[in-house]
Subunit: 396 residues, 3 copies
């Protein structure tokens, strides 16, 4: 009654991240030892270039009367170096009760808001081709937030509960609604509450940080699939100042399968915002993150060509100061193209190449080392990130 399943995906990946010298020199004269740009490269044996490497256990029990109980425990693994076995069930760890009413699910699971980023990405947010909206959102909680219930050693989980959330209660609509589907999720922050409130410790991020609330609703019928989601993740709080920092995310995605070609599109808007309950307070600027993606897949015999273009733009909502101070909004775009060759349903070879271009201080890579931003007293601004994956995915 238990199914053991998994994916072992390994490949050779290479990343080259280039930043340009943007130092302003007095008199415009570059000094001795001037370097025009710096490239930092890394070539590795990687995992999860096409599908995330994992191992899991799942099962369902028929309870009669349409009721069923089920569980799903799924661990991320790093099969390239063997360092991460089944140390956590950080990919998913749930127990469910389902029936005609739908499904109640308890534990750690994907957030509703993440689904559109991955389902409507031809590259499924894996490897160098990953949707740039996802790349930008992964680090977005860090703009003003603090650490929450992240899982140690599992880099795919950030403090903003972007991809998954722990300690959640979820509800899913039943599958028989004529193509309509939907889910809502609440994630406990598991923080202490003091009574009287005046004895609350003054430590930051100890009152509500870690909470997640969100939902997703969609329609899938024939070649069409379309879905919208909205969620709020509490990434910081200051009890005595009366402030709560939230990442609020809305996105909308769709795909249409014409047979010879399948089209993908997504629009996403996130806001990192401080809610104030105090009467008098110092206003803080929200940070906006908008993005869109267009993508395509083309079946070619046993293979699949995949391509996407994605774009993101941050709006720092910085007031105009003077024409000499840059307040241009950071933005970046990405182009990715790849080919998957299926040797069987379970085993495939794949290759992907991609390139990210950053502007106005945006700092997004497709993998590998961080951009170099300083050397010898000179400053460098992130520009391009280029890379490839070439590997094999085997599922069991």
């Amino acid at each position: 009654s238990v199914t053991l399943f998994g994916v072992v995906d390994a490949g050779i990946s290479s990343y080259s991240n280039k930043s340009d010298n943007t130092t302003l020199f007095p008199l415009g004269l570059p000094p001795l030892g001037y370097v025009d740009s710096i490239k930092v490269k890394r070539t590795v044996l990687s995992n999860s270039g096409y599908n995330s490497s994992r191992i899991g256990f799942r099962g369902t029990e028929d309870l009669g009367g349409g009721l069923a109980a089920s569980f799903w425990l799924e661990a991320p693994i790093s099969n390239d170096d063997g360092q991460q076995g089944i140390a956590t069930f950080a990919r998913r760890s749930t127990v469910s009760l389902s029936g005609g009413f739908g499904e109640i699910r308890l534990g750690r699971d994907y957030t509703p808001t993440f689904w559109n980023d991955t389902v409507f990405d031809p590259f499924g947010t894996n490897g160098v081709g990953t949707n740039l909206i996802s790349t930008a959102n992964t680090s977005f909680g860090a703009w003003a937030g603090g650490a929450t219930t992240s899982v140690p050693g599992f880099t795919n989980v950030t403090g903003s509960n972007y991809v998954r959330a722990s300690n959640t209660v979820g509800y899913f609509l039943p599958p028989n609604l004529g193509g309509f589907y939907g889910q809502v999720m609440y994630g406990f922050h598991e923080r202490d509450k003091y009574d009287p409130g005046t004895v609350t410790p003054t430590a930051l991020n100890t009152q509500r940080t870690g909470r997640y609330v969100g939902g997703r609703f969609g329609y899938a019928n024939g070649p069409l699939d379309v879905a919208a989601s909205y969620g709020q993740s509490t990434v910081g709080d200051n009890f005595f100042a009366g402030t709560t920092t939230k990442v609020k995310t809305f996105n909308l995605g769709a795909s249409y399968d014409f047979g010879v070609v399948k089209l993908f599109g997504e629009y996403s808007k996130a806001k990192n915002e401080v809610d104030n309950e105090a009467i008098f307070f110092t206003p803080t600027a929200d940070v906006d993150l908008k993005g869109y993606l267009v993508g395509v897949t083309v079946p070619v015999g046993p293979g699949l060509i995949r391509a996407s273009y994605s774009h993101v733009k941050y709006d720092l909502n910085t007031p105009f100061i003077s024409p000499f101070v840059t307040t241009a909004d950071p933005k970046a775009n990405k182009f990715a193209i790849g080919y998957v060759h299926n040797l069987s349903k379970r085993t495939a070879l794949y290759a992907t190449v991609a390139r990210v271009r950053n502007k106005n201080g945006a700092n997004l890579t497709l993998g590998g080392p961080s951009f170099v931003t300083g050397f010898g007293g000179q400053t460098f601004t992130p520009k391009t990130s280029t890379g490839y994956d070439f590997g094999i995915r085997h599922a069991f």
Copy 2:
């Protein structure tokens, strides 16, 4: 030949722990900002409210001639947040050889002394209903002891080898003794011994700490089950002072199943004691911990009502100083009641409520945050701990 088994148990739990202001104010006048009592609450998605969440692998090989070899590897998992996968086999990790003579078992296993605390508890030492004897014993090794071979990240294991012990050799009587059963266990401390002894390093707790010796014997026949156990766990030593600190535990439990109702009872006595081999020494006071439990379960169709009352009392053996110094013995009691609704043999819904009352400085909770013991220069004494579990247990 390998059986994969497990339990995924998740629920919503809430804890509210209240302490009272016991500051003695000059002239009896409470200051500005006086707080009568402080409550600290936490609501969480919990695991193991009814049965401990786990995943394991076990198997038996028939060797012929009545002999058999078997293994059992069982990991605790935290399915509410996915943080703990199969990182350890801290619940049980053994290899056995068994036959007409009984069973020899090597590895990490439950201590004989723990069994009575859990077997004769209607709540099986899980969730907010847990036997108060077990709660008190979990932290009892810390009264005078040091850390031993605890398993990192596994909170159910303390330095006193209370629930389980590592590096053990166990022997079990064969099952065909007319209802009599029994076991003995020895756990290696795995410390270094120096020859000559004079070169032993002066570091504390490096010579014998971690050793466990114990046994349990019982009789189970028809509706009756009764068992007694005794064990010693070395929780501290000081080689050059010639002292060894041990927790010595005796307990006796019984249950009788009348069909319409099943009764449970347990008596436990533990002593945290310093053995002295030196001729001249400063006497140290032992700490005693006595407790009893009475419980009942009542089958109701596919469900089971469970209730228990447990009581513990510490005897600090403090000498009488003056009528103005409190030397009253800390004590606590607990009442728990709950209902389990079986949807199948493997799947159940459950709910439990419970309340612990502490007196004279006893400091026991049924879960959640620690009691607040100080605020704004005022002192607070632990009083009540109240909580509930409401969840689902699915076994596979």
Copy 3:
């Protein structure tokens, strides 16, 4: 399609490691509190005395046309204390594509150079009987190297990639070559490369450390098996000094099965060497490590007697200074004998005793605590290490 397999091996082991007082006293008079020698002993419940305790998942998929995809995920476990479950797949973590051309294997795997040390050791580099060549090589990378991609908490993996390497690409010859077999392996260092090179950070061991290159070729036919291997492991580098430290290993092993007795032999030579690309540099002395082993196994009914003698010698290549300064080369030898009693193919009882003798500062044990090298201002030199294993191995 997934095979779950494993070994649970537990036993009682004891180690006694003795060092002699080699202090030079003024006038030759030992002081008050003089100790002739110090023995440090430890008795433990051990794992892996006969075969390494493990749990693993593996499978193969037939892709048609002679092609196959397969995976192998194998975790080391510490079943004596339950502390290490399936936290890593540090024993092996690979995905392969194989066919008439041979096999391409990606991930973490044994190095080609380790195989001869274990295959031609009657004790299979497990327990107190372990090949002394292996014991010496385990710590050999530390003579002049730094930490590389070692796996935390997995003591069998050193910085020198001696037993296994992560992030590797391997190629194996197909099995139908009339007894000839062979493999080559390349392990990525996964370090960053800077362009221009002048911006490379000055941190040590960040440029090439961790890389492994090696191969092994052999011939197995009827009673004969013979193989040679060569490999290089980069254990340190200094980019700006232009130096790279490598452990270069060559070994040759053979076994011949006469039926009533099987003979084993191995010769090994390793060099810890600094390669210099700079024109002017301070020469550094290489360290050589040479060793040989002769062994025998004798089947006795359902049992097997095993014995081996192994010898290693370090050549520090120290220049002659004066007759008063010791420059003698450290060396050590070991004798081990044991018996394995098979209760079935999967279950065996075993016992091994062994003794290592060190000379001229060699510092090798067969397990347990380190030699004491100083006490009360006196210095001690490692001499003998004696120990035994007595246990049970159960495979599933």
